[in-house]
């Protein structure tokens, strides 16, 4: 007859096996909520990619970044990133001339379109990059220049 100790030990072993396989919900959740502070304090796109353990990005027509050509208010600039290619794992939004280049990082599942829009702060006119990290390791990006007129009359 199995003792309680044996049953508990058996459950622990099964849980350990599942955790290793990444199937235990709690373990998987712990990984996705680990905030990547290094990536968010990186000062260049290359540093960001290194902090995320990704290769060098390649410019691609399959990624689109949408945003205004001229942003009236640098505190609220609507930016969108999208890619039509399947197999996207992650979408990043970077603002080249911000003190911290990485603005936001989205882990997408195939339950949603790889198409995110949000609003970011831009300290000055700068290039904005949308980077798509694919499940096969490829890293694609697109860029757009956004001019910022902080409180000016435009131009």
């Amino acid at each position: 007859m199995q003792t309680r100790r044996e049953i508990l030990s058996h459950s622990a072993k099964v849980a350990a096996m599942l955790a290793v396989a990444g199937l235990l919900p709690a373990a998987a959740h712990a990984q996705t909520t680990g905030y990547n502070a290094t990536a968010f304090s990186a000062k260049t796109m290359a540093e960001v990619m290194k902090a995320l353990g990704a290769g060098a990005p390649v410019e691609s027509k399959d990624v689109t970044v949408t945003g205004p050509d001229i942003a009236e208010n640098g505190a609220v600039v609507p930016i969108g990133a999208a890619t039509a290619v399947p197999g996207v794992k992650r979408i990043l939004l970077l603002v080249e001339k911000n003190p911290a280049v990485l603005a936001a990082m989205f882990d997408v599942t195939d339950a949603i379109d790889a198409n995110i829009s949000t609003r970011v702060k831009m300290g000055q006119s700068s290039n904005v990059y949308a980077v798509a990290m694919m499940t096969d390791g490829k890293v694609l990006f697109a860029q757009k220049e956004v001019k910022v007129t902080l409180g000016g009359c435009g131009g």
Binding site: T33, A104, V108, K121, M122
Partner: protein, 103 residues
């Protein structure tokens, strides 16, 4: 406890467009107050979106996301009556979670 988020989810074909407006200062940590002291960074760090209880997107945000963050994305296969839940955790450990029904 922060102010509630406004979530709108509308079906368009076989997807639902979800728009979220969160209430948060999103302090960058770069500004200084009247006395010259730097105002510490206070911003949302993690965002999770769920469709009928299943996580469909997670995001990590830096302080560069605008104050009162706006977020828009499309959920595939969502139908009217489905539940969309959005939650966030900020760098002080505050959190907020709100739910909306797809219409």
């Amino acid at each position: 406890m922060a102010d509630p988020m406004r979530i709108r989810a509308q079906v368009a074909g076989d997807k639902a467009t979800v728009r979220v407006l969160m209430a948060h200062e999103m302090e960058t940590g770069q500004r200084k107050d009247a006395a010259g002291k730097t105002i510490p960074a206070w911003h949302i760090q993690d965002v999770t979106a769920q469709h009928n209880g299943k996580t469909v997107m997670t995001a990590q945000w830096g302080p560069a996301v605008s104050k009162n963050p706006f977020l828009q994305f499309n959920v595939k296969g969502a139908k009217a009556g489905d539940k969309i839940t959005v939650s966030w955790v900020d760098n002080r450990g505050d959190k907020r979670s709100d739910e909306a029904t797809v219409s």
